[in-house]
């Protein structure tokens, strides 16, 4: 089957031409690894994604999840896919060998997650959540908890979830009501209702371990009073086998717009006052513990946006090459002129190039952040470590929010490229769009991400993370010296970057002078601005590398730029030449059409316009 999920050539470019993946093997942590192993993993992941997982995507969407008599049924095809996925050992690709993992770099993990997510995100959430939950046990659990729970979760034998949300506690997790009562033997009785719990119930695994946020009786209100508990669906016998039902009752599964193959459940804990949980970590540290999982999950949700958008983009390109409609622009007066494929039409090319630049910009961002995690674990020098870790902190809300928002828009464009056919369920693109929408909502809505960026991340580490990132951009662009076709894009980038830095300073001033509503009211605008600059940076970095390689190929083959016949033949015959030309085009396009918006965005923010607060609630609508 052809791979219309992820452009493998672009993956390789990110890993080996932009980032120095091979360079990671110089560090002791990755000393046992090599390029041929990375390539083999990616190649197997591609086969798994295309041949095993993707066939379950449309089927899982049509079948969905159902609930009857307390039991949840997930799409039938997921069972076999889950088995193969577990056999492959994919859950623990980048976890340490001591916990049974394979120890690969995070950036390899990200690349495989992109493939798997593009193939079927609803499916991949089952093992993905089990991994996130097991990671909490790895970091905070006692040895006994690790042996009881973590091992079986990492091996895929048991599932896992994250239980935060309640009817009255959505964005404001601190408002949660689920309670925990000490039973005297170090354990707790859990009572309360959690809603919207992904992978909350299913029979893909024989047991499910729920990390549950709850308040110990008498604990203070707000986030400080929250602790986290490990609550199994079935209790675990002393020999490790699955025991009695633990009074974790599924009340319902949601009927949803997308990711229909993933069971989103209402879970009632302790209906019969017989639900036992164990404290994970210390009392009152529930939010801190859960944040580990949330950071992983936020990057994962960013990758979700990338995954749906890359699949949508490659499908759209493929469709645009085959769908015949209309004649070539040059022949528009001649009704007898031969029909051409729609990829010949300027408006289709506009959409495709816009999509390409967004998808490839997002990919570069996501892989860079994963690589930064690897570097922060690899380098010895504390200052260097902090610098790499700072990029991860700063860029996490951008990965999450921009990955999901732009990812969604790319899927929407894909439907536009298909025309009426794209709107029907005969073709896969409308599902990509539906599946993608949730990404801007869960794991902290994008509005919450914007506030995290502006109120926490910009000033974090005394503002050094932000400053370091600006320095990285400046140094990288000047080191790669894009010129030729990218000259104008560089100029636009410099202006945009300066506007971004300027707003950073402006927000700090607003804060100092007590005008808090300006940064808060403009949080999303700033996220948009900074994301636009960030993607511009990555596209320019890539474009500069590609341009140099393209020039070298032309030189080697003796192709002159003004000999357009030879140039056209080169792009037709040489895959590398065509690939690099595409990279340059995406960067040039982004510089011409997207980056110039940044100065206008900055100007808007600086107006300190407060229409959004001035308008009376009663003035929004007349009825």
């Amino acid at each position: 089957m052809a791979n219309l999920l992820v452009d493998i050539r672009d993956q390789q470019f990110n890993l080996y031409e932009m980032l120095d993946l091979e360079g990671l093997t110089k560090y002791p942590k990755f000393g046992d690894y090599s390029k041929d192993m990375f390539d083999m993993v990616l190649s197997e992941a591609e086969k798994m994604a295309v041949n095993v997982i993707f066939p379950s995507n449309a089927e899982g969407d049509k079948e969905g999840c159902s609930y009857a008599n307390g039991k949840v049924t997930v799409p039938k095809s997921f069972e076999d896919v889950y088995k193969k996925f577990i056999e492959g050992g994919w859950i623990t690709i980048s976890d340490d060998a001591e916990v049974g993992g394979q120890g690969f770099p995070e950036v390899i993990n990200a690349a495989t997650k992109e493939l798997f997510g593009a193939a079927n995100f609803a499916f991949i959430m089952y093992p993905g959540l089990a991994h996130g939950a097991a990671k909490l046990v790895e970091i905070y659990g006692t040895d006994e908890q690790k042996r009881t729970y973590m091992d079986k979760m990492y091996s895929g034998q048991w599932g896992g979830t994250m239980c935060l949300t309640e009817p009255g506690a959505g964005s404001d997790v601190g408002a949660l009501k689920t309670s925990a009562k000490p039973t005297g033997d170090g354990k707790y009785k859990i009572t309360g209702t959690k809603i919207f719990i992904s992978a909350g119930d299913h029979e893909l695994t024989e047991n499910i371990i729920h990390p549950v946020l709850a308040r110990i009786e008498g604990a203070p209100a707000g986030t400080k009073g929250i602790s986290i508990f490990l609550v199994p669906k079935y209790r675990v016998n002393s020999d490790g086998s699955v025991g009695d039902f633990n009074d974790v009752n599924t009340g319902n599964v949601e009927h949803k717009m997308g990711i229909k193959g993933n069971a989103t459940c209402t879970l009632n804990f302790g209906d019969k006052d017989d639900c036992i949980g164990e404290l994970l970590g210390d009392e009152g540290t529930g939010m801190r513990v859960m944040f580990n999982m949330m950071n992983e999950a936020r990057l994962g949700v960013g990758l979700q946006g990338l995954a749906h958008s890359t699949a949508a983009y490659l499908h759209a390109v493929d469709y645009a090459k085959t769908r015949l409609q209309g004649s070539d622009l040059a022949n528009f007066r001649n009704p007898e002129a031969p029909r051409v494929s729609i990829i010949n039409h300027p408006d289709i090319r506009r959409m495709l190039l816009w999509m390409k630049s967004q998808v490839e910009g997002l990919r570069a961002l996501m892989y860079f952040v994963a690589y930064a995690i690897d570097m922060s674990h690899s380098v010895e020098d504390q200052v260097e470590k902090d610098r790499w870790h700072g990029y991860v902190e700063l860029l996490t809300p951008i990965c999450k929010a921009w990955g999901s928002d732009m990812g969604f828009r790319v899927t929407e464009y894909a439907i536009q490229v298909y025309g009426g056919y794209g709107f029907t369920s005969e073709y896969p693109v409308e599902q990509f769009m539906r599946d993608c929408k949730i990404a801007s909502i869960y794991e902290g809505t994008n509005g919450i991400q914007a506030m995290d960026l502006v109120a926490r991340k910009l000033g974090q580490n005394k503002g050094m993370n932000f400053i370091n990132f600006i320095t990285l951009m400046t140094e990288t662009v000047s080191k790669n010296q894009p010129d030729g076709a990218l000259k104008d894009a560089v100029a636009e980038f410099e202006k945009a970057k300066n506007a971004m830095a300027d707003i950073g300073g402006f927000f700090a001033q607003c804060g100092a002078s007590g005008k808090f509503l300006v940064p808060i009211g403009n949080a999303y605008q700033f996220l948009e601005l900074m994301s636009t600059v960030t993607l511009g940076f990555f596209l320019l970095w890539q474009g500069a590398i590609a341009e140099k390689k393209l020039v070298a190929i032309k030189k080697e083959k003796g192709v002159k730029d003004d000999d357009w016949v030879a140039v056209a033949a080169l792009y037709k015959d040489s895959k590398d030449a065509a690939y690099y030309q595409g990279k340059v085009a995406a960067a040039k396009f982004y510089g011409a059409y997207i980056l110039p918006h940044v100065e206008a965005m900055a100007a808007s923010i600086k107006k300190e316009d407060m229409s959004i607060m001035e308008i009376a609630e009663s003035a929004f609508a007349s009825s």
Binding site: I8, M37, M40, E44, E87, S574
Partner: protein, 253 residues
């Protein structure tokens, strides 16, 4: 049970193949290479037989340029125990007989109970290596096999024939060439990939005999002419026009 698998690295079935302008071969730039799919059935069957027997080793033997190492490693990651690459240059070509001779030379004198190979390689579609290796080694050969049952020193194989299947009993050791339907090859697992790195892979510089058959030129099949839609006011008129076209233009009726 020890067995060997003859494996060739070929362009991916999905790869768009372009012939070089001078007709001396195909353009390899940007082409992904994979294990010949029929050989993959061989790898899977060898692993299954080893697992069923509870002991033994599976050896992968390949002839090809350096890059073939990737495919051998993939087979090792699937579970094979060791690999041998008879290394030749990227564009070094010889014919099937010379290739089979080099393989037979490598395979002889070891105690392989079965030598598996694909029924053909999907790049040049010669389908000669298996039978030639068997002949050169003085072993029986069963081709196009979709089922293998081993018991003691013999194997019962099903092979595809026109309109049915043939059941063949063969004395071991033997060469068995594999057909689609024999099994569903497993994917290499991550732990498998980790282990593969430490498994022995012997690379031997190899010189093939001069070919007796040479390739003069490569060219694309002629482009298919565009189809034609028969016009007409109604079905009867269209049918009449079709008959006329078939009789007078295509001259097939």
């Amino acid at each position: 049970m020890n067995s060997a698998v003859i494996l060739k690295q070929v362009p991916d079935t999905e790869a768009l193949i372009k012939v070089k302008p001078d007709g001396t071969g195909i353009v390899k730039e940007g082409v992904k290479f994979v294990i010949n799919p029929y050989d993959e059935f061989g790898v899977e069957e060898a692993l299954k037989k080893k697992e069923a027997a509870g002991s033994g080793e599976v050896t992968i033997v390949s002839i090809g340029p350096d890059r073939s190492v990737e495919s051998i490693r993939t087979a090792l990651a699937m579970g094979a125990d060791k690999g041998v690459l008879l290394k030749i240059g990227e564009d070094e070509y010889s014919d099937a007989l010379a290739t089979a001779k080099a393989l037979a030379e490598e395979l002889k004198g070891k105690d392989y109970k079965i030598i598996f190979c694909g029924k053909q390689a999907i790049d040049d579609d010669m389908a000669q290596i298996g039978p030639m290796v068997a002949e050169l080694m003085g072993l029986p050969c069963v081709t196009v096999v979709t089922k293998v049952d081993v018991s003691g020193d013999k194997a019962v194989c099903s092979r595809e024939i026109e309109g049915g299947k043939e059941i063949v009993e063969v004395a071991l050791p033997a060469v068995i060439s594999c057909q689609k339907g024999l099994n569903e090859p497993r994917y290499a697992s991550l732990p498998g990939i980790m282990k593969a790195k430490k498994k022995p892979l012997d690379i031997k510089d190899t010189k093939l005999d001069a070919p007796k058959a040479t390739i003069d030129k490569w060219e694309n099949p002629p482009q298919r002419a565009a189809g034609r839609i028969i016009e007409g006011d109604d079905a009867a008129a269209k049918a009449a026009a079709l008959v006329k076209a078939l009789r007078q233009e295509a001259k097939v009726i």
